[in-house]
């Protein structure tokens, strides 16, 4: 698929981004500079946090998500008490919802940091207004993704044995295990994303500190702002650091998802043992990440009437990215089947066919529809400019991507080498509780985020404005 990337990927992506940076960038600039001044930017964005009265929809949504979060942690507590047997796992299917959720969430976590870092590096001004919540999305999704590898353990209270540290057993982790790679990948990715996000937030916290009325808010934001005062020297370092972190983030993100791919590719299980997996997983991650970004973008835009920051142009570009990734994914599905056939490996061929005809065939075809067929609608300009249609499509895509992971993980295990050992996986109530709960918890974090943290980078908006004023 690496060879394939240019064909499908290249013509589409640059054109859209290039466009964004060239003409459209300007056209958007005009819009921002004649609707906004430095003051109004601060006013509007910090207002959402500081002055805006809590909307009713927020209270309701928050209550709902709190309930779901309780379900999530309730399920986990029961899991710790009883053991992973409360899930539908068995031999041969020792991984199912747990790892599916893990891969799904970590994939969603992909886009945030990647989008903002990549756009930052390629100096795409249009990225500025979506980077902040995209990064937030990354961190929340990553935090949740990080929970699953721990709770899926038979003895989760020993999860720290994956970390190298001097101990009385004088033992080390088994470095060759992809799970150890995972441990380091998640650790690095989480910390870097946090730093990247927080670095960008410091000046905005300073704004909130200075605009806050209540003393408590002043102190809270003041602490977060670390006493930032906008010195030219600090700005200079700040910029450099931001650029460096962006530069580090991009390869890291790719490596993280390659490692997730290797979790499976290093196994000998038919349907997993394939070199296509790392790039395949990176593409899939971008795909679902962009989709989730789209979902959130449409919602925020509507909820806080941010049309002037998150413009149709943004959605349009996101949609094009999603379409591009969708094609890459479709391509790798085809390649998977081709490779199975080409390898002439009895087991690989069987697995490929079993996916399409076996007991889990409905899942397979459902995911093909969600991931390959539906996104084709994005060829149409009208669709790309209808936010709610985009919203619908992005939801479908995320469902599809979950199904894809489930299909990859379960169908490979449930019928591997010895027919005598074949089996089936049926989820239990606790499987569902964990999945739904995790989604609720994700939304819960997002809701807190939009209430307490500026969901668009005021700094970058000001920079944009300054640029345009300079330009105009």
């Amino acid at each position: 698929m690496t060879t394939a990337t240019p064909d499908t990927f290249a013509p589409d992506l640059p054109s859209s981004l290039g466009a964004a940076s060239r003409g459209e960038g300007k056209s958007m600039a005009v819009r921002l500079s004649d609707t906004h001044s430095f003051a109004s930017i601060s006013e509007k964005i910090s207002g959402i946090v500081l002055t805006m009265p809590t909307p009713r929809w927020w209270t309701i949504a928050f209550a709902l998500c709190s309930a779901l979060s309780l379900v999530f942690f309730g399920a986990i507590s029961y899991l710790f008490y009883e053991g992973v047997g409360i899930w539908g796992l068995n031999v041969p299917v020792v991984w199912a919802f747990d790892i599916t959720n893990y891969v799904w969430w970590i994939a969603i976590a992909m886009s945030g940091t990647f989008i903002s870092a990549a756009l930052h590096l390629t100096r795409q001004p249009w990225g500025a207004s979506i980077s902040r919540f995209a990064e937030a999305m990354t961190i929340f999704a990553l935090a949740i993704a990080g929970i699953f590898p721990i709770i899926h353990l038979g003895r989760p209270w020993f999860f720290y044995w994956l970390a190298p540290y001097p101990n009385v057993m004088s033992l080390w982790p088994q470095w060759r295990s992809p799970l150890v790679w995972d441990f380091f990948a998640i650790l690095a990715y989480l910390l870097l994303s946090l730093m990247f996000w927080y670095l960008g937030l410091i000046p905005d916290f300073a704004t909130l500190r200075d605009r806050a009325r209540s003393r408590s808010a002043q102190i809270a934001y003041g602490l977060l702002a670390l006493g930032w005062r906008g010195e030219a020297r600090h700005w200079q370092r700040h910029r450099g650091a931001h650029l460096l972190l962006a530069g580090l983030a991009v390869p890291l993100v790719v490596s993280v998802h390659s490692v997730v791919g290797l979790d499976f590719a290093t196994g000998n299980t038919p349907g997993w043992h394939s070199t296509i997996f790392p790039p395949f997983f990176v593409a899939g991650a971008m795909f679902s990440g962009f989709a989730m970004a789209m979902t959130i973008a449409v919602l925020l835009r509507r909820a806080f009437d941010l049309g002037d920051f998150i413009t149709d142009r943004h959605l349009d570009n996101l949609a094009k990215l999603i379409l591009a990734m969708g094609l890459v994914l479709a391509y790798s599905y085809v390649m998977e089947i081709f490779m199975a056939w080409y390898s002439a490996d009895r087991y690989e061929v069987y697995t490929a066919l079993n996916r399409m005809r076996g007991p889990y065939a409905p899942v397979y075809w459902a995911l093909i529809v969600c991931v390959v067929v539906v996104p084709q609608a994005l060829w149409s300009r009208r669709v790309r400019h209808a936010p709610w249609v985009l919203f619908g499509i992005s939801i479908v895509i995320n469902v599809g991507m979950w199904l894809e992971r489930f299909m990859l993980i379960v169908t490979s295990q449930h019928r591997d080498f010895l027919p005598s050992a074949w089996g089936m996986f049926y989820p239990t109530i606790w499987d569902w509780a964990t999945l739904v709960g995790s989604i609720g918890f994700f939304a819960w974090l997002l809701l807190l985020f939009v209430r307490f943290i500026p969901l668009i980078s005021m700094t970058e908006m000001r920079e944009l404005l300054a640029q345009q004023q300079g330009g105009s």
Partner: protein, 216 residues
């Protein structure tokens, strides 16, 4: 007033941060000590009756194997049945109140209950017999028992500690006739001696650190 943090407040915040840090550290340490192995190292354990290894070895001159009879043949060194004690104490110190529990045990057919001092987790399989056979002395693991009025643990008995010897047995091996010698000290040429003993005992070093040696 733009100045959110007056110097005073800053000071308070710093103190607060320090306090929190300190709190966490103490909490962790406290918990570690809470779950620490008991009885602790170098802490004499009061037994009923208060059996003195010092007295029985140094004063009376008993051999380890008089009580721990199966130490050479079996995985378990063996804790003497009451009847063994009675071989002497049916005559000696019959009026000692200290020994009342012993006589009671014998009379009422009620076993004595000793507090375990040297204990390994039950997923660790230690075999006394082979260690004796290959020249690992009692005192190497149990310390100067002959000087302990009440027995205590002198070694951590943690995997690390086991490996220390399994990786470099030559540092600890003794001639077989010195195995039960409490007074044995490593000679200056221990390393050479150890190497020689390794050969004599036909110890296969390559498998000494295998997991299967102790874990099944």
């Amino acid at each position: 007033m733009a100045q959110v943090f007056r110097p005073g407040l800053v000071f308070v915040l710093k103190v607060g941060a320090a306090a929190i840090l300190l709190g966490c550290v103490t909490a962790v340490l406290g918990w570690r000590s809470l779950i620490a192995e008991s009885p602790a190292i170098d802490a004499p354990v009061t037994q009923i009756p208060p059996f003195s290894h010092k007295h029985h070895i140094s004063d009376v001159g008993l051999d380890c194997r008089f009580c721990h009879a199966t130490v050479e043949t079996s995985a378990f060194a063996g804790i003497p049945p009451t009847s063994t004690c009675m071989t002497c104490h049916s005559q000696l110190f019959k009026d000692q109140s200290m020994l009342a529990p012993l006589f009671a045990s014998f009379r009422e057919e009620r076993p004595l209950r000793w507090i375990r001092v040297h204990r390994l987790p039950d997923f660790v399989y230690f075999n006394h017999g082979i260690h004796i056979a290959k020249g690992v002395g009692c005192s190497t693991c149990h310390g100067q028992v002959e000087q302990m009025p009440l027995i205590w643990r002198t070694q951590s008995l943690e995997m690390e500690w086991c490996l220390a010897c399994h990786r470099a047995p030559e540092k600890f091996l003794r001639p077989r006739d010195r195995v039960f010698d409490m007074a044995w000290r490593a000679p200056d040429d221990q390393l050479e001696q150890g190497q020689r003993l390794l050969a004599d005992y036909q110890i296969n070093r390559s498998r000494l650190a295998d997991c299967s040696n102790c874990h099944r």
